[in-house]
Subunit: 340 residues, 2 copies
DNA sequence: TTGAAAGCGCTAACAC
DNA sequence: GTGTTAGCGCTTTCAA
């Protein structure tokens, strides 16, 4: 591979000159020289060494995407359709901005911090971080960061995030159930933190608003670990007899449960109604077609990347914490029942 | 951020010494010094500058994953579940080997070559390359490369690839259909190149073996472009009346078609049988459960990464072109019919 | 309009 | 055991 220095020698000019024309600073160079240099660059198939450039400029053209996988949420992080879609969308936007993306997946926040510092990434997009992680990061990493879908407690106030109206979305879909005559409704999730917690809150609000009694019984925990899932599904099958509708924290679980119940002979929505959250491909594939809460992942990625680049360019942000809206999409998994 | 040089000054030793203990070459350093250095590293929270290291060592610790998206195959490359799964699996294996992965997606092979040269990646995994691309790559990129799922014509002989028994898989599932009394069978794909071509060949072989007439009519082209898909699906619906079974080149299409037909009132498998290829999550979600050809993506990723690292370490490969096996998985989308 | 030279942080050959 | 030093390829300041 040719270097600038070699080309400089060939042409009998200085490296500065070559560098200048590479960077289009041609007003400082005579037309004649520009032409000769460009021709040589072409002929030699010169490719800049990014490492050298990064070192000299103390930057990297890398955007880090750091993900702390929720332990055992679904099986593997790599199989999580939401993360995969978000990741590839972000990569897409990053690349279109002339940067490269590097993925840092680790359960250890220190490892993440070390890696991104080592690579000297120009900015960071983060998912799955806790309040403690955020504090740590702010302390050790001094470049732009934007979080995705994060809820931090009040120990940290100043951070940039792009989230979703989890409360509203789940409220709306629950309300839709209620409007269809449902009163005995359960919420199903595999934990009660972050998004899932706020979705639960939305669910809860809707019931309370309609003066429907709510207790611990209305929250069903699904256990997604490989060896527990079967039993958990069976439990849900049994519990489901006490409800006329189920609101699931994600389409993934909605579809899993739907299929489990249907395979057991339960009719949906005749015997029980189900709704999900996300409106991903699962919701579109399953039959009956799943009614669910729609979120726009591509938009989420886009906003995150845009915010990050604004910060990198020292522009001011119109808002630190963007909450993207949700819409409910009505399909065929809910039955209208006579209020009892 | 602290540098080696700074630490050397603080301790009054040379950078070599620091560098040595960082790299565990402690046999050349006195215990005393090692201890002092380690303590300082700890205290300063020293993080190596990878760019500098890469520059000095002329390597990068980066494995490039280069993908040339098949124009308009599905909507966006980023939504392709197969690519996403493969990508994240590869990333996983690469990271476990202490390397980093960088993604290079472009329809322009020159752009890809430039990028990976620029970053000085230590090895390359490639998908979606044509014979011409391969020739170009071999000419311009002198480091280890392994291709995935590639079929090249005989202009190129020496290359490392990990593929799949596309012919066998499609042959077996077609045979299964035939054994169930089906004679009027169509193959559906959105193109007739690469994998899809070889899958078609397997399909064809199975029919010929059983002395079933085959003509152009047996190949149905599905048009996946957004504005054509609807019409294409309608065409397939009409064409399907002439067949008792459909073998689809992917689960994605199998499910799409299944749902389209079912939404039109067609009963599956009673009215028509369908099988797919891949055995991905779609096949598991859809009802009736899809009978299909199973492939192990995780294994494919693993083999590709292993081959690459062997090449990087100058070990010899037991085989250049690995063809992973397929198995057929029988579920409920095929009906046994009385031969006519 | 052009060039010399220092320096980015790290490695490694070699000398002490 | 430890230090000196010359790069790696590129950018950039400053002088000519």
């Amino acid at each position: 591979m040719v270097t600038i220095k070699q080309m400089a020698e060939m042409l009998g000019v200085s490296t500065t000159t070559i560098s200048n024309v590479i960077h289009g600073k041609t007003k400082e160079v005579s037309k004649e020289t520009v032409k000769r240099v460009n021709e040589l660059i072409e002929a030699c198939e010169y490719v800049p060494n990014i490492n050298a450039r990064n070192l000299a400029q103390n930057k990297s053209k890398i955007i880090g995407l750091a993900i702390k996988p929720r332990q055992s949420k679904y099986k593997k992080t790599t199989k999580d359709i939401f993360i995969n879609e978000l990741t590839s969308d972000i990569e897409d936007y990053v690349r279109k901005n002339g940067y490269y993306m590097m993925l840092y997946i680790s359960e250890d926040i220190y490892e993440i911090i070390n890696s991104v510092s080592s690579w000297n990434v120009d900015g960071l997009i983060l998912m799955g971080m806790s309040t403690d992680d955020c504090i740590m990061l702010k302390q050790k990493f001094k470049k732009p960061m934007v979080f995705i879908d994060s809820y931090f407690d009040n120990r940290v106030v100043d951070y940039v995030n792009v989230g979703l109206d989890d409360v509203g979305g789940c409220h709306d879909i629950t309300k839709y159930l209620i409007e269809n005559g449902h009163k005995k409704i359960a919420y199903i999730a595999d934990n009660c933190e972050g998004c899932d917690k706020y979705r639960y809150l939305g669910f809860r609000n809707a019931l309370i608003e309609s003066k429907i009694m709510i207790s611990d019984q209305n929250f069903i925990l699904i256990q997604s670990e490989r060896n527990k899932l079967g039993a958990s599904l069976e439990d849900i099958f049994n519990a489901s007899k006490h409800f006329t509708a189920l609101v699931c924290a994600s389409d993934y679980y909605a579809v899993l449960i739907m299929n489990y119940l249907m395979d057991k002979g339960v009719k949906i929505p005749e015997d029980i109604s189900i709704v999900g959250f996300d409106d991903n491909i699962y919701a579109q594939i399953v039959r009956p077609h799943l009614s669910t809460v729609h979120q726009d992942i591509s938009e989420k990625s886009k906003v995150a990347v845009e915010k990050l680049f604004k910060m990198i360019e020292n522009e001011s942000l119109s808002e630190k914490n963007t909450i993207l809206p949700t819409t409910i999409v009505i399909r065929n998994s809910v039955k209208k029942i006579a209020g009892k």
